[in-house]
Symmetry: C2
Subunit: 284 residues, 2 copies
């Protein structure tokens, strides 16, 4: 995560602790998407000359608290001088057997597509922090969630165990992340935008922006929910719902199905019309 | 390694392949200093918008060739946008037993201090590339070595096995790196500057700079040789020399001894006078 590219270091935008938290969250989210256990994390800080030791320690504490919360451990790292603040995190994940891990290339025609939790908070928060939408009680909830996202490690393991055979974390936005599963698997993921579960405050912000709420939900990066595919036959859908409910984890919403077609994603609005959504744009 | 801080990306200074090589070499050198085996490396690239895919692939090839040469493997990584080129490498090292690993805190009064290989090429190359010293056949040799340093992994393992009980790699320069052993061990490392083994071309460049060659050898970073301490009693000195010669590894030069005193390093010139040398300065 690089200042000016992935975040702005400004109390309204992100505190040093939140930068540490988010850098580690982004790395752990990739493990979640494979159904892996989180192991050791290694943290590299590039610090501008005027950054100061206190803020550097605050940043590390932000990462450390998230690691402790998720059963990961920061096992090493390094500090170098840098023109802008940058945080590079390497995490190792583990599985008892390699076959337990889920890739992006396992989606098959007929599969059902699910997502965990709720979407759009990150895009809504960005719009408010950018000054494109006003602060409201609803948008504050989205901002709070976006500032400290929680990678879905437990959900990823449960989904892998319950039969998900393709999975990705939503770091660039559902539209572009789901397309990665489609391309890797050689199938077309058909997603109904009206079915997307919206996070608190996303409706508010979308109204202020005069755009459909599903646009924020499908295009915003850094929600760190999981998108996955399960076979429609058998009882995978039921297994998934039961496994997540039994562990009191994030709920699942079924948002579409996998078909033959152009490898990638096909998004359709409430009237069934195809919609084109660009992937997540970083600050620049 | 960050452009403008640790290197300049300019054909005369460093090609993309050399940046990849050096970033991995610097990370592996830390493993060498512990006597560890090199395991998996994870490579993060921060690429400016105009960097281009071809140069990015060249950079990765530079790292990959070094990894193959040393029995390491690049097992993963990531690519992000960045304001300047940056390469962050995380390497994992392994040992059969934790007790085989050597730290910085094991130096004891009476120990002998050794260094592997020859010193000063990196500082000499920097002076030439900076335009402070002329290009000569000698300085070209120093530049060639500095552009593609080889971390001393085999030497580190052999030294650990032969009884070295404190070790560090010379990434910031002997003066400041040896001081780290001294501080960690609570002892004073007495080093005779006239005893330092000089790399080819260092004499030439030092003459042009009108400064003693040992100043380049003791202050220049990124030589990636090892500095280590062994007990003077027993036969550790002989074991070390024999172990490295048997494996046809870099020779060892004995450069001083460990005494009680102010924790850190004490450097003395050919007349026995104390000399103060500042640590390696990065480009800024």
């Amino acid at each position: 995560m690089i200042e000016g590219v992935h975040f702005r270091l400004d109390p309204g935008w992100a505190t040093p602790a939140e930068v540490g938290h988010r850098a580690l969250a982004g790395a752990l989210s990739d493990l979640a998407a494979m159904g892996a256990d989180a192991g050791e994390a290694y943290l590299l800080l590039g610090l501008p000359a005027d950054f100061g030791e206190e803020r550097a320690l605050e940043l590390v504490r932000g990462a450390d608290e998230l690691a402790a919360h998720l059963g990961a451990a920061i096992a090493g790292g390094d500090v170098v001088g840098a023109p802008v603040l940058m945080v590079s995190v390497t995490v190792l994940g583990w599985a008892e057997r390699a076959e337990q891990l889920v890739g992006r290339d396992g989606a098959r025609e007929g599969d059902l597509i699910g997502v965990t939790g709720r979407l759009g908070a990150a895009a809504a928060a960005l719009a408010v922090l950018d000054g494109r939408a006003p602060r409201t009680p609803g948008s504050e909830a989205a901002i709070a969630r976006a500032r400290a996202p929680l990678p879905r490690l437990a959900e990823g393991r449960a989904l892998a165990g319950a039969g998900a055979h393709a999975m990705i974390d939503l770091s660039d936005g559902l539209a572009s992340d789901a397309a990665q599963i489609g391309r890797a698997s050689g199938v077309e993921l058909h997603i109904e935008l009206a079915a997307l579960p919206l996070d608190a405050g996303v409706d508010d912000v979308a109204a202020a922006l005069e755009q459909p709420a599903w646009e924020l939900a499908a295009s915003g990066g850094e929600d760190y929910e999981l998108c996955f595919c399960v076979p429609a036959s058998g009882h995978a859908q039921e297994h998934v719902e039961r496994a997540l409910a039994a562990l009191d984890l994030a709920p699942v919403t079924w948002v579409g199905e996998v078909r033959a077609g152009t490898p990638g994603v096909r998004l359709s609005d409430e009237r069934g019309h195809a919609v084109r959504i660009e992937g997540y744009e970083h600050l620049r």
